[in-house]
């Protein structure tokens, strides 16, 4: 078994809504070119995604929705009908070849999972995947098809395995959660900003799953302005407890990079410190619970130049078994991407301080820890509760 491959092709840039739309495939090019400049891609196999078949898509999506997406990409869909499917909206405007672009991202994620579960690779990274808002019959939040949900459904059919899905995008991973809400072969764990102001508004601790799936839907809604330490504590605790409970065969991570303080769409305050650690911790969990089997995906992230390429390169670092990249960013890359609205970053870490001190910090940290406790307490032993309480800096009880 080989260690690692990544999935990418320039053709994935065909999933593109418009010049100004926040979900821009330039993010993929920025990341791959940064890894190239680091000479990271020289000996690493790159596998080009294939298109998902209609049969695969219909494991999750409705037939009439797939037909509508196909029609939408050729201009054959009436505006009224498009609206019914969430297409032609501000978030998911129509574009030429929508079905082809969207199904290519799905195929990439299916392949990424299959390469791992078939035993060819231990770890894979599909940078263009992670479109977690896609619904059964409706486009939502920049997502047309839900690549992850389709891939998981396909893998379960083929390998009868248990998959833990871990989502650190700033937005709730609602599409994936609802697709498997009543199933016990997929567990979803999503950390995100609370729905008080942010899309999609769901992802409360009380959304725990239904029927057979009860207990296998985990949500950690974090307060606005949550910082690195509080995030990482919540993430690491919830991730390892989820693994203990669920004993997965495969971990899939969605690595949205929009919880960063510089992201224009959200109100969380992470820095690169979190994006160095998130994938390292995920790989450690995989080593402990799934014989190292892990698939990483991209996701959100709307500061294209400063945040996303660094965050996703750090995913690459962890997936190839390296420590996080540090020090200066190659000047060749900086030069290539200069002249943009925001100048490219010069270092792997963020300048300090990146943002003014947050007066509410103690309150936010305490609240987030209470949220983690509310989530996991029903599932952990009294002994473990004592351990967690003793090591947590925020516990009063």
């Amino acid at each position: 078994m080989k260690d690692f491959a990544y999935l990418y092709s320039p053709e994935e840039a065909t999933y593109r809504f418009s010049e100004t739309h926040p979900f821009n495939p330039i993010r993929l090019e920025l990341t791959v070119s940064l890894l190239e400049a680091m000479h990271q891609l020289d000996d690493i196999p790159c596998i080009a995604p294939r298109h998902a078949t209609d049969e695969e898509l219909s494991l999750v999506h409705d037939q009439d929705y797939i037909a509508a997406v196909k029609a939408a990409g050729t201009g054959a869909l009436t505006p009224l009908k498009a609206q019914m499917y969430g297409l032609g909206t501000e978030d998911t405007p129509l574009f030429q070849g929508m079905h082809s672009g969207a199904s290519l991202l799905v195929g990439g994620t299916i392949e990424a999972c299959d390469l791992v579960l078939s035993g060819q690779y231990k770890r894979t990274f599909h940078i263009g995947g992670g479109l977690h808002h896609g619904f059964r019959g409706r486009a939502s939040g920049f997502c047309v098809y839900n690549d992850t949900a389709v891939a998981m459904a396909a893998m379960i059919e083929k390998y009868h395995c248990k998959i833990l899905y871990v989502d650190t995008d700033a937005h709730h991973g609602d599409g994936v959660q609802w697709a498997f809400y009543n199933r016990k072969d997929v567990m979803t764990l999503s950390l995100h900003e609370t729905g008080r102001y942010l899309f999609p508004g769901t992802g409360m601790v009380t959304e725990r799953g239904s029927e057979e799936g009860y207990g296998f839907s985990w949500n950690v809604p974090l307060d606005a302005f949550t910082e690195d330490d509080s995030f990482l504590l919540a993430y690491e605790t919830a991730l390892f407890e989820a693994c203990e409970l669920f004993q997965p065969d495969l971990i899939i991570t969605q690595n949205g990079a929009d919880a960063h303080a510089l992201d224009p769409l959200t109100h969380l305050s992470l820095t690169m410190k979190s994006y160095e650690q998130i994938p390292q911790i995920a790989v450690a969990a995989a080593n402990k619970y799934t014989n190292g089997k892990i698939v990483a995906l991209g996701g959100g992230g709307y500061d294209w130049y400063r945040v996303v390429p660094r965050a996703w390169s750090q995913v690459f670092a962890a997936m190839t078994g390296q420590a996080p990249f540090h020090g200066e960013i190659p000047t060749s890359w900086q030069k290539r991407w200069s002249g943009q609205e925001t100048p490219p970053p010069t270092h792997w870490h963020d300048p300090t301080p990146l943002y003014p001190t947050i007066p509410r910090r103690p309150e936010i940290e305490e609240k987030n820890w209470e949220t983690v406790k509310r989530l996991i307490w029903p599932f952990v032993s009294d002994e473990r509760k004592k351990q967690l309480t003793a090591t947590s800096p925020y516990s009063i009880d």
Binding site: E90, D91, F199, P200, G201
Partner: protein
């Protein structure tokens, strides 16, 4: 909104001559807290809830408890429960729940039972009314409590291609100030917020100090 839009039309019912034990069994099997009692013509004759069941036997006399449960349910049921009509307003039903401290409201047309609304249904409906169950971003605007304000905001939103799912107006401590909360169907409300701020609206958002 009318009661008939939110009521359950499949009701779990029993006859007055059935035993209390049967009521207990129905509650356990269907995971419910009330059973409606009807006669052969499906007319509502009573209601039995957990409280009535609990009053039927004593924990201190376990020897007779089993026997007690064999009495007909008519011996413990509420004989003329508060009811509502399917065409009543949801708001009126909510007031009934509040005033009589109800947990279950049978819906009756003529004398026939046609549905039931429980406090759970009512709460679910209120959650739905806030729009919180559909993917959306929330925008809150602090406005003066005067005529035409909502129209001004709506006109601004209409210029974008963004669908409004829901509008709620909250009171504040100040009678001249209200908060209007919009749920809009987009992941990227930045443009709308900028537009509103440019027009002088006080758009609320997460606050670092409060």
């Amino acid at each position: 909104m009318l009661i008939e839009q939110i009521m359950n039309t499949t009701c779990i019912t029993m006859q007055p001559t059935n035993s209390i034990a049967h009521a207990v069994e129905l509650m356990q099997r269907h995971q419910i807290r009330h059973v409606l009692v009807v006669n052969a013509r499906h007319e509502l004759v009573g209601l039995v809830g957990l409280k009535e069941i609990q009053s039927a036997s004593s924990i201190f006399h376990p020897d007779t408890a089993k026997q007690d449960l064999q009495y007909p349910v008519s011996s413990i049921m509420i004989e003329s429960p508060v009811t509502a009509h399917p065409l009543d307003f949801l708001e009126d039903a909510a007031v009934l729940f509040y005033e009589y401290r109800l947990t279950c409201l049978p819906i009756v047309r003529g004398r026939r039972l046609v549905g039931v609304v429980t406090e759970t249904d009512l709460l679910r409906t209120f959650v739905q009314l806030t729009g919180a169950l559909e993917p959306s971003s929330q925008i809150e605007i602090r406005v003066e409590n005067t005529a035409g304000t909502l129209a001004k905001i709506a006109a601004l939103l209409a210029k974008t291609n963004i669908n409004i799912l829901n509008v709620l107006v909250y009171p504040t401590d100040d009678p001249y100030v209200r908060i209007v909360a919009f749920r809009v169907q987009t992941m990227n409300p930045i443009r709308i917020i900028e537009k509103l701020r440019k027009e002088g609206f006080d758009v609320l958002g997460p606050d670092v100090s409060r």
